[in-house]
Amino acid sequence: MLLTPEIITILTLDFIFIFFGLIAFVISIKIVKSWDLNSTSQAQYKLEKQSFLVSTIIKYIFIVKLPLFLFFIFTADKLSDIITGAMCGAGVVNSVSFGSSMFFYKILNLYIFGFWLVLNNYDLKKENQPYTKYKFWLYIFGFIFLLTEVYLEIDFFLSLDVSKLVSCCGTLFSAASKSSISFIYNIDKIYFVYIFYAVFLFLLLGFMLKNSIAILLGNISFVFISIISLIMFFGTYIYQLPTHHCPFCMLQKDYYYIGYVLYVTLYIGTFYGVSGAIMSILEKRKEKFYYNVSMIFNTIYTLIISAYPIVYFIKNGVWL
């Protein structure tokens, strides 16, 4: 167990999240069980008031969680200085077996909580509050995910050991590693580039046609293909090193913190895309604002990430 200031900070905020999350959870269960907008009973009136508390709490958790997630990555990066063998956040996160699933939950929760707020916004605008039950069901699941995330995070910090030797990203992200994704290293990396641009074109097409289903599927696959192609192909151009496949090192100063820019634009782009598409389906009208934001940020991401290989090619005249 390490008692660094960063870890204490994160744990303190985790504690606050759980405390308030629990209050919201209890209220959500009550609402899901006995919400009836047509009823004029005292109980329903009380629930209506309490639903505002839940939305305030969720807003709070989401607003604090967003920068805290960046801070978590930053902390993992800093811890790599004192953990033997680790050279960036990847080594630290993967020093425990559940490191990547913790990360998965963290990202998933950002999407869920963000989407909750979108749903809430639509819900409150309508007089008959059509989404109330949905959003509280969503929160009940979201809270379970949040608990899982915090549990994993605490376990993660507890099992950090300065004297234990961990792997650096160079071995974690290579064909030699035995992880579940290592098989993709045997596939020619140029296919990932094709798929990446194909998905982007698909997104663009969906955007032009304003087709909600296409945008929804496009954005979901865009998240995954972006990260995979970043590891497999684009990352190597950021590092200008054909063997370096790390999604974490680009968050460091040596690469001008470009990773933060990339991940934040990717998050905004896909988040707006997914939630806009879902809302369009639910509302049965096109949510143009969401689509525009989504397309702008996805395009920015694609432009930045494409610039790396192109600039490399112009400078050196060869591909890596």
Partner: protein, 395 residues
């Protein structure tokens, strides 16, 4: 999620803070003080760490000590040759140094013995050897002292010489040849520099012994390998590399500021309770205000938003004020009182300046531990206020 910031609501929040001036001033004052304390501690810790990091670059690649029964004892000089025989070792420098307790002032001096013809293991010493005439130092067996030492000696009326008491009770009188200043005061304030021959005399050490060896390695990537070879060659030695030191510094400082932070978290939660209590107790005026707002058409959401703005403005203002105050306190006033937590019990407290070290990460920590906690404390009270019924409160 078109939650645009409403300028009028913001305006209303600011005015609302001023309307309840006395209550908010109290909160602002206590909160600022709390953040100030926290940020000062973290700034000092950072600053000292950055100072030590610059020292670290000067430190030897490998230090070899000899252990007997778990304690460090003197090294026989005969080992130098065998260490030199290891491939990749550029130089092996035996060091003669130690602490001399000056009972009169209750302080420890760091006594360092050097020979100018040797390859120096620290830039500071080789610079000094160039600057001061080492031959003179040798001829009239004088010494060079740090600024702090000079001051302490002067207080005991040792103007230009000092009598060292040897282990056997005899005295060694040594002239002060000069005073020097180091790049970093922390390391050079308490130093006395003299010839290693004299240092051995003061400590009562054998001629063919040294306190420890410093090993210089030509290629830094070979350091771990050479360190391992030394341990195999002499199993009784403790081999410390530069990297080991760097990691242990980091751990030590993280531990010290972590410990303080753990205490801080307790006080932050106490504060949380105070805020909660303060925000829950609403005056009848405030109640009427909410009632009127609701009557003119404000929704629960609007009042919650207004309360959130209020909490954010107040806490963020405290945060910024406290940050400015502690920057001033730490880097202009040199953090009186609080600095001692980190410098420790070393009796010759070097009066050094804290170098400016300001990083994003520390500020992020301070921010996350203060502003979100404050806002969290106001969530439930604000909701209670906001969900009151208009007719009920205006009655």
């Amino acid at each position: 999620m078109q939650n645009k910031i409403n300028r009028f609501l913001l305006d209303f929040s600011v005015l609302s803070i001023f309307r309840r001036g006395s209550k908010n001033i109290f909160i602002f004052f206590v909160f600022t003080l709390l953040i100030f304390l926290l940020s000062s501690i973290l700034f000092i810790s950072n600053s000292i760490k950055s100072e030590l990091d610059t020292t670290l670059n000067e430190l030897p690649d490998i230090t070899v000590q000899r252990l007997q029964a778990g304690r460090a004892i003197n090294m026989p000089l005969s080992r130098v040759d065998r260490l030199l025989a290891i491939e990749g070792v550029k130089a092996v420098i035996p060091r003669v140094w130690g602490y001399y307790y000056f009972a009169n002032a209750g302080v420890n001096f760091s006594v360092v013995g050097i020979d100018s013809f040797e390859d120096q293991y620290r830039d500071l010493y080789s610079k000094l050897c160039d600057k001061f005439d080492f031959d003179r130092l040798k001829k009239d067996s004088g010494m060079l002292v740090g600024v702090g030492v000079k001051k302490i000696l002067q207080n005991s009326f040792y103007g230009d010489y000092f009598n060292f008491v040897k282990p056997d009770g005899g005295l060694t009188k040594i002239k002060i040849d000069g005073v020097f200043k180091g790049d970093t005061k922390l390391e050079s304030n308490d130093i006395i520099l003299l010839t290693s021959q004299k240092a051995r005399e003061i400590f009562g050490m054998n001629k063919n012994e040294a306190v420890d060896f410093v090993v210089k390695v030509a290629n830094p990537t070979e350091i771990p390998n050479i360190a391992r070879k030394i341990t195999t060659l002499y199993p009784d030695s403790r081999v410390v590399t530069k990297e080991d030191l760097s990691i242990s510094y980091q751990n030590l400082f993280d531990y010290k500021s972590g410990l303080f932070l753990a205490l801080f978290v307790i006080s932050a939660f106490t504060f949380f309770m105070i805020i909660y209590d303060k925000a829950s107790g609403i005056s009848s005026d405030e109640k009427r205000e909410i009632g009127i707002l609701k009557a003119v058409g404000w929704k629960i959401d609007d009042i919650l938003k207004e309360k959130f703005y209020e909490a954010f403005i107040l806490s963020f203002a405290s945060f910024v004020t406290a940050l400015c105050l502690s920057l001033f306190y730490v880097y202009f006033l040199n953090a009186p009182l609080l600095k001692n937590i980190f410098i420790g019990y070393s009796t010759l407290k070097p009066a050094f300046d804290l170098p400016f070290a300001f990083d994003f990460q520390t500020n992020a920590i301070i921010f996350f531990l203060t502003v979100p906690i404050y806002i969290a404390a106001t969530i439930i009270p604000s909701w209670r206020v906001a969900s009151m019924d208009a007719d009920e409160v205006m009655r």
